[in-house]
């Protein structure tokens, strides 16, 4: 359990930078439809594991970066990510005891709420997009959670020990 230890800021920063790079990467269109939202699982991982350092405000800032990268209205993703972070903080106790695959089941509704907020704001500002493309990347992201969280946790453990 690394939630009660201090992980180096450099590791958090690097993992987030990697997640942002993964989503700005140019991709073939067929793959882009399924391409997971790496930043969501990364941000939620740090919110879960380092809630004191990486809370709602940090999640919001990450969302703002996404808005700049995607060219969406500023703080559309910010608001959605902050809400998701809030939910993860509220659910932290069961999440801490669950193994990763069970965490996935609990995180799925959180990410669906996240997608719904984006979808809702899209509707308000009049941006119509195919619903499948709005929802699918979130779901594939959550499905990758066990592997992603496992990997990040191993690296974080090494980081904490050294």
């Amino acid at each position: 359990m690394i939630a009660n230890k201090r992980v180096s800021g450099l590791l958090i920063f690097t993992s987030l930078a990697l997640a942002f790079m993964l989503i700005v990467m140019p991709l073939p269109r067929w793959l882009a439809n399924f391409w997971p939202q790496w930043y969501v699982i990364t941000v939620l991982f740090w919110v879960l594991m380092q809630p004191l350092r990486f809370g709602i405000c940090m999640a919001w800032c990450c969302g703002l970066i996404i808005d700049v990268l995607y060219g969406t209205p500023l703080s559309q993703h910010g608001l959605a990510l902050a809400t998701a972070a809030y939910l993860v903080i509220k659910l932290r106790e069961p999440l801490w005891v669950f193994p990763h695959w069970q965490q996935t089941l609990l995180l799925l509704p959180v990410v669906l709420i996240y997608e719904f907020i984006l979808f809702w704001i899209d509707g308000i500002i009049g941006y119509d997009m195919s619903p499948l493309r709005r929802w699918l990347p979130g779901v594939t992201g959550v499905l990758l959670w066990p592997a992603w969280a496992w990997g990040l946790e191993r690296i974080a453990e090494i980081d904490v020990r050294s």
Partner: protein, 315 residues
């Protein structure tokens, strides 16, 4: 299991500031930001400075592709010779056409001078490289490697060798983001080249497809008709090819035709685009026209400018 055995060491959440209140605060700030961002253009400088800060990320992502492109430039001698031959043939052909064009241009200018209209047909262009295509599959955006330092402005039109591609949405000092005509939020005023019928072509969000929603069933339009920009709205220059009609359907029960068109520009290919500077739209009215007499008193600055009025919607 992991965790809860050492309860006393579990991180306590900050009690000074409850989480719910924190979320509420963030939500209020977010909504205010979004309202500012969508209604006024007040957030443009913030957005632009944030994207400058994101620049290293973009560069890092592009690095492997750039390296590959660099390696691909080493081609073998045979290919180079063949390519060179093809290009010189093309130059010859184009030069022949250019001679005719310059004669036409001269003639056009003389005729325009006769009409006392000063519309300049020559246009300034700049070649810009495409840095990346939309990071987001929902949006048909591209990022270009020219920005406000090169004189690029938001609303500027980009074309390729075959037709109109789109327009600039936002500009940072060193690069800019453009929306393509196939984006679902984009529409361009066009006219059918064969008949001169004016309409609007909307993007569909699918690559390589536009649709024309406002054509009545009686409209004269066929497959393979060329759509050119009509220049209405003042954003796009007139007369550039936009798309060719690919399908004309008559849905029963609808008052309108369902027309789809394929953009002539190669939106998903190529690495370079041309940025076109806005022509000053001239009032296409000869001086003797009585209609002008009613316009001039309303706009005193027209007197100094004689005829052309600079487009005032430049941001």
């Amino acid at each position: 299991m992991r965790g809860l055995s050492d309860d006393d060491k579990l991180p306590l959440l900050s009690r000074r500031f409850p989480m719910g209140l924190r979320l509420l605060l963030v939500a209020v700030v977010s909504i205010a930001l979004m309202m500012f961002d969508s209604s006024h253009n007040a957030m443009a400088p913030i957005r632009s400075s944030l994207s400058v800060a994101m620049q290293p990320l973009q560069v890092l992502v592009e690095a492997p592709a750039d390296a590959l492109a660099y390696l691909r430039r080493f081609s073998n001698r045979g290919q180079l010779i063949a390519r060179n031959d093809a290009l010189s043939r093309k130059v010859l052909l184009l030069q022949a056409r250019l001679q005719r064009l310059s004669a036409l241009e001269a003639e056009n200018e003389r005729i325009r001078a006769l009409l006392e209209s000063s519309q300049d047909r020559r246009q300034e262009v700049l070649i810009a490289g495409i840095l990346s295509a939309s990071a987001n599959p929902y949006q048909h955006y591209i990022t270009l490697d020219k920005g406000s330092l090169d004189g690029v402005y938001s609303g500027q039109v980009l074309v390729d060798a075959n037709g109109i591609m789109g327009q600039i949405l936002s500009v940072t000092p060193t690069n800019s983001r453009a929306i393509l005509i196939t984006d679902a939020n984009h529409a361009i005023p066009v006219e059918i080249n064969r008949t001169g019928l004016r309409t609007i072509a909307e993007g569909t969000g699918k690559s390589g497809q536009l649709h024309l929603p406002f054509l009545p069933k009686s409209a004269d339009i066929q497959e393979d008709d060329l759509l050119v920009s009509s220049g209405l709205g003042g954003r796009y220059p007139s007369g550039y090819p936009v798309a060719t009609v690919s399908e004309v359907a008559h849905p029963p029960g609808s008052e309108f035709l369902a027309v789809t068109a394929t953009p002539t520009a190669r939106l998903n290919h190529g690495e370079e685009v041309l940025l076109v500077w806005r022509q000053k739209p001239a009032l296409r009215v000869p001086l003797g026209n009585p209609a002008l007499a009613t316009i001039v008193p309303l706009a005193p600055e027209l007197d100094e400018l004689k005829l052309p009025v600079a487009a005032s919607d430049a941001p």
